[in-house]
């Protein structure tokens, strides 16, 4: 019992020191990053979107932002604020961002280049490549590469799709009209995708998503 008590107090002392060390470290961290600075806000984004912006499979798929086109990200952040893209979590996040902060964050994410998260069913990849590069003329589906680029890196407000999470692309394409362009008086670029998203069958959506999720 004596030994147990000593051990208990030993642990207590060690944990006391650990707390002290952590508090000191925490104070330094708070001073360096701050909660309002770009670094603090960037870490906040990374909490969900991944340390290198590679995306994360939470309860919902959280998209990759790394290497994303800054103009696309700006447009999406404004869409969350304006309600064109209804999403209660991202609406909360975007509402407190100043335009300058939005610019700083979108530029920071566009410069990141981690490998894709992976995990998509490999057997669909070849089929997805064919749809992405050539479309499906019989079903009125244009080649995705025409707008998103043959490397799927996007341009301006047209997003990069390379390396995007498989479940995120599947969700976006299947719910397109519920998730985008919801303010008819404020039409945006999401209207371009609407007919395409509607024309794609579920197996085609899964194939394209699987292909894109493998691209660097």
């Amino acid at each position: 019992m004596k030994w147990r008590l000593m051990k208990f107090y030993g642990v207590g002392l060690a944990s006391g020191l650990a707390i002290l060390a952590a508090v000191c470290a925490g104070a330094t961290y708070a001073a360096a990053a701050g909660t309002s600075g770009v670094a603090g806000k960037m870490q906040y984004c990374q909490d969900c979107h991944g340390i290198s912006g590679q995306g994360y499979r939470g309860y919902v798929p959280i998209p990759r932002l790394a290497g994303q086109q800054p103009d696309y990200l700006m447009n999406q952040l404004r869409a969350f604020v304006e309600g064109r893209r209804p999403n209660s979590i991202m609406s909360n996040v975007a509402h407190v961002l100043s335009p300058a902060m939005m610019h700083a964050l979108t530029r920071s994410f566009s410069r990141l280049d981690p490998p894709p998260l992976g995990g998509a069913p490999r057997r669909y990849v070849a089929r997805g490549r064919a749809i992405f590069q050539d479309g499906d003329p019989g079903a009125n589906v244009a080649a995705c590469a025409a707008c998103h680029g043959p490397d799927a890196h996007g341009h301006g407000e047209i997003p990069r799709l390379a390396g995007q999470l498989y479940p995120y692309i599947v969700k976006a394409l299947t719910n397109w009209s519920q998730e985008r362009g919801r303010i008819p008086s404020k039409p945006d670029t999401s209207a371009i995708m609407e007919p395409v998203a509607h024309s794609l069958t579920r197996p085609q959506v899964e194939a394209v998503a699987a292909y894109l999720s493998t691209l660097r």
Binding site: V11, A22, G26, Y44, D47, I51, G58, Y59, I89, V96
Partner: protein
């Protein structure tokens, strides 16, 4: 000291009344778990409820106790030795068994803090860079894969667990919890723990 004596007394009583569940598992003796986590794994403060917890989460936590990465004082005293001799096969078997037990909500939080806790859970605290819990833990705090179920865990466990990260423990936990939890104030932690303790 009084508290420790009381804990030991409670554990001893539990050990004597806990029905043996060992027969339901191949070679893992669940009785050792029931001493602290309760006969139907519903938990006793500070030992969390394990019933209905996510399989992969349990496996990961057992691994982190085994590797002595989850390092708060209670983990050190109780879970390090408990996980020390658990083979990977036994850990998987145990996790599978526990994940299938039906969980009950502890409901021991402060009802006055529930609304605040729900707001933080669903929307985060954007001004102080606290991410919304719901994105990863799900609309009913049920968890998924390696992300734990939080709904219905006890107030005392949740509060202690969320405070630990700010205190510097379990720093090697899966991103992003060490950072998210270190952004929370004690009042926000109490609110979250209260809300979650009532979630079925």
């Amino acid at each position: 000291m009084k508290r420790i004596k009381l804990t030991i007394a409670v554990l001893a009583i539990l050990a004597s009344v806990a029905p043996s569940l060992a027969g339901e598992l191949g070679h893992v003796d669940v009785r050792n778990c029931t001493w602290c986590h309760g006969p139907s794994a519903q938990g006793y403060a500070p030992a969390p409820r394990l019933a209905g917890q996510r399989y992969r989460y349990i496996v990961n936590q057992l691994r982190s106790f085994n590797a002595q990465r989850r390092d708060n004082p209670f983990s050190h005293i109780y879970m390090w030795p408990a996980a020390a001799n658990l083979s990977p096969g036994a850990a998987h078997e145990l996790a599978h068994y526990l994940s299938l037990l039906p969980p009950k909500a502890a409901g021991d939080g402060n009802p006055a803090l529930v609304a605040m806790g729900r707001a933080i859970y669903q929307g985060g605290v954007p001004d102080s860079n606290v991410a919304a819990c719901v994105a990863c833990h799900g609309p009913h705090a049920q968890g998924v894969g390696e992300i734990p179920r939080l709904g219905g865990l006890s107030y005392s466990y949740l509060r202690a667990r969320l405070a630990q990260w700010r205190e510097g423990y379990d720093a090697g936990a899966l991103h992003p919890m060490p950072h998210v939890a270190s952004q929370l104030t004690p009042q926000e932690i109490a609110a979250l723990a209260s809300y979650l303790s009532f979630v079925q």
